[in-house]
């Protein structure tokens, strides 16, 4: 009964909002509709409307999926200090962060869905009803852990919010095991996504043990950066008074993860280029172009530039300035998105296993659909954040 009221209040909260809120949601809805119409076209004509080919058979969809999994996993960088080390400052913002994790999870699943050639056969993926190639296929693992993680995160955040709603302290014995589980599954979603790539012997660019650590490191910098960005926005728009100390904590986390990530990237680049073997052709294509084809070169160099400038801002006292901090976060999010998406998924296919250099550029429809997914994800995040803030500020509570 109480729970139903909680849900009811939550839904009511969604429809309460100022001009800013509604215009934000309106813009997102329009973008989402655009995306939906483009997706309809893709459904009707097939994936031929995308820029993908047999040579480069995954494009911007899987690229976005990969980086979003990272953002989803990053929530644990807040959960760990909040619930393992009982850091009160982080605890305040952990539920919006979980909202981000949920939204990112949903988005990444949507990206997989829109990438399918036969979305109508999705049910083949269901265990027992369909045929799930479970222990063998890394993609099957990924589907599984993503769902588990989504489920866990949802349970945890609903439980925590509900307790707060009732005005009670959440029971340690209930949430602690769940939190521990979710920490592991957060790690595993990103590790498994890395394995999804690194298990491919066919693609030497992905076939490296460093991929999983790199994924984790980049996720733990870009995820919190994304969240910090939204926290800064929340603070700026005065919807939620994020404390300075929480921001500082986040900055520390981001800086360390970013340093590790750049170090790992450096190690990778060194190994690829010291003896330029046949296997480093993809890296050569990515950084310098191959056979006069250079489509990805601007991408990766801008990513390098963005990452390094983010690092510079984070290590300098410059970060005390909110504008610079926001800028650094933005740089980082975009930089990592490119590094892990266009800079990892696409060059893995170029050159093909038969040495052909065939380039990939996303088509307009592809971009439109991706933006649509982002819009839906952001709407979801806004809603979740709004509810959690409302509960946190005790705007809605059991009376």
């Amino acid at each position: 009964m109480e729970f139903i009221r909680f849900c009811f209040d939550g839904v009511k909260e969604i429809f309460r909002g100022g001009k800013l809120y509604w215009s934000w949601m309106g813009v997102l809805a329009v973008v989402a509709l655009f995306g939906a119409s483009a997706y309809l076209q893709q459904l009707q004509q097939g994936l031929v409307v995308t820029g993908m080919s047999d040579q480069v058979s995954w494009g911007i969809y899987i690229a976005s999926f990969t980086s979003l999994v990272g953002i989803a996993a990053a929530a644990i960088m807040l959960i760990i200090p909040a619930y393992i080390f009982h850091d009160m400052d982080i605890k305040e913002i952990v539920i919006p962060a979980e909202g981000l994790a949920i939204a990112a999870c949903v988005m990444s699943m949507m990206f997989v869905l829109i990438d399918l050639g036969r979305p109508d056969r999705m049910w083949h993926l269901l265990p027992y009803i369909g045929r799930f190639n479970f222990p063998k296929s890394m993609l099957a693992w990924d589907v599984l852990v993503l769902n588990v993680y989504l489920f866990l995160t949802m349970i945890i955040s609903v439980y925590l919010l509900f307790s707060k709603y009732k005005g009670k302290e959440p029971k340690f014995s209930i949430y602690f095991p769940l939190v521990i589980l979710s920490i592991f599954s957060a790690l595993s979603i990103h590790t498994v996504t890395a394995f999804l790539f690194s298990s491919n012997v066919a693609r030497s660019f992905w076939h490296t043990g460093l991929l999983a650590p790199r994924f984790i490191a980049s996720a733990f910098s870009a995820g919190p950066a994304f969240f910090l960005l939204t926290a800064l926005v929340m603070r700026y728009t005065k919807v939620f008074p994020v404390k300075e100390i929480a921001i500082k904590r986040l900055t520390t986390i981001i800086t360390i993860a970013l340093e590790i990530n750049l170090f790992l990237l450096l190690a990778e680049v060194f190994t690829e280029f010291y003896h330029q073997t046949e296997h480093s052709a993809s890296a050569a294509y990515l950084f310098f172009g191959l056979g006069g084809k250079t489509a990805l070169v601007p991408w990766i160099w801008s990513s390098v530039f963005l990452n390094i400038s983010a690092l510079v801002i984070f290590v300098l006292p410059l970060k005390k300035n909110t504008i610079f901090l926001a800028l650094a976060c933005l740089f980082l999010v975009v930089g990592v998105w490119i590094e892990k998406g266009m800079g990892l998924v696409v060059p893995g296919f170029i050159p093909t296993p038969l040495g052909e250099v065939y380039e990939y550029t996303p088509t307009f429809i592809e971009v439109q659909i991706s933006m649509g997914v982002w819009a839906i994800g952001l709407m979801l995040y806004t809603i979740l954040a709004k509810i959690s803030i409302a509960v946190n500020l005790e705007r809605i509570r059991l009376t």
């Binding site: 997706y39 309809l40 459904l43 009707q44 004509q45 097939g46 994936l47 031929v48 993908m52 080919s53 047999d54 040579q55 058979s57 995954w58 997989v112 869905l113 990438d115 399918l116 050639g117 036969r118 979305p119 109508d120 056969r121 999705m122 049910w123 083949h124 993926l125 269901l126 009803i129 369909g130 045929r131 799930f132 190639n133 063998k136 296929s137 890394m138 993609l139 099957a140 589907v143 999804l196 298990s199 491919n200 012997v201 066919a202 693609r203 046949e278 052709a281 191959l290 893995g348 296919f349 050159p351 093909t352 296993p353 038969l354 040495g355 052909e356």
Partner: protein, 320 residues
């Protein structure tokens, strides 16, 4: 569309009336899932508007995995697929279902010193296997390499000369290597692709969800995707097909070379071999010690591509 969202309707169709209780539960569960995902049903609707009745559409939607179908289900599925193929392509098409032969493991050998790069095999393959002519799917790629190099990155895939062979070049046809440890099979999340008893990796085109993970996993770039709805001029359709190989495909699924399963399981030679004007290709049963292929493997200087990847290809290259 709305009918499809209704699970009750599903089980009432006459085709499904004889299914067991478990089946019924299964289907209801699935239908429920669909109802939840509105976009999904849109797809079915979109893909079935052109092609006939609702019951066909439902049957196709619920068609089971090739390996799980019973004999009658198989017959029904094949009859429906043949009917639909006729509707679509305007030609009577026979979909066979010959099982693998006992004690046969297919192997292929190619003499690279004989191959002259004419690309006759490429076009014979397309004619035999009903590939989509719009997106021009080809299972065989012939690479032109420097005589003294084996670096594929320096290969020319698109050589277009007056005459071949060109001096100082060698030609290297590559198709599915029918790996004994196929990475594509381990990759597939729904087991839509598997290795048959005669060593041929096949795809159930009605089960593949089109995720293209197998294409990323294949080290030989053998898997080709149907980016658009396949279209083949009616007179170019090969009506003799097999469920697992050259039957008409649909958009959004993977396909690949099957060593012409429809021919080789009946004892015939693959189309690429028949078309090769230089006799560079040798095909046969590698379990038969008297076979030609075994002679080649045992007596020639033979090598395989990317053996270091532990894929155990059943496609060998040799030279005189």
């Amino acid at each position: 569309m709305s009918e499809k969202n209704n699970p009750a309707k599903t089980v009432e169709t006459p085709e499904n009336s004889d299914v067991s209780r478990r089946e019924l539960f299964k289907k209801t569960a699935i239908a429920g899932t669909i109802a939840a995902a509105g976009a999904v049903s849109t797809t079915i609707a979109a893909s079935n508007v052109e092609s006939g009745g609702l019951s066909d559409a439902l049957d196709e939607f619920f068609q089971k995995h090739y390996q799980e179908m019973s004999k009658e289900e198989m017959q029904k599925a094949i009859a429906r697929l043949e009917r639909k193929a006729k509707e679509k392509h305007g030609k009577e098409i026979h979909i066979g279902n010959t099982p693998p032969l006992e004690g046969v493991l297919f192997g292929y050998a190619l003499n690279i010193s004989k191959c002259k790069g004419y690309r006759k095999c490429v076009d014979a393959c397309v004619a035999e296997n009903n590939q989509n002519r719009d997106t021009t799917i080809q299972y065989i790629r012939v690479l032109e390499l420097e005589n003294e190099s084996m670096n594929f990155e320096e290969a020319d895939h698109y050589y277009d000369r007056e005459t071949v062979p060109h001096t100082g070049k060698k030609y290297f046809p590559i198709q599915c290597q029918q790996c004994e440890n196929p990475p594509c099979v381990t990759a597939c999340p729904v087991e839509a692709t598997w290795k048959e008893a005669d060593g041929i990796t096949v795809i159930d085109y009605n089960w593949c969800i089109g995720c293209r993970y197998c294409a990323a996993a294949c080290p030989y770039w053998a898997r080709k995707f149907n980016w658009s709805e396949p279209s083949i001029p009616e007179e170019k359709i090969n009506p003799e097909t097999h469920y697992l190989s050259n039957r008409p495909r649909m958009r959004g699924v993977m396909e690949k070379c099957t060593f012409c399963l429809q021919r080789t399981r009946k004892g015939k030679l693959p189309a690429c071999l028949e078309a090769c004007p230089t006799g560079a290709r040798v095909f046969g049963n590698i379990l038969d010690p008297k076979s030609e292929i075994r002679y080649v493997l045992e007596n020639k200087k033979v090598f395989r591509l990317k053996e270091e990847l532990n894929t155990e290809p059943k496609f060998w290259y040799y030279s005189d």
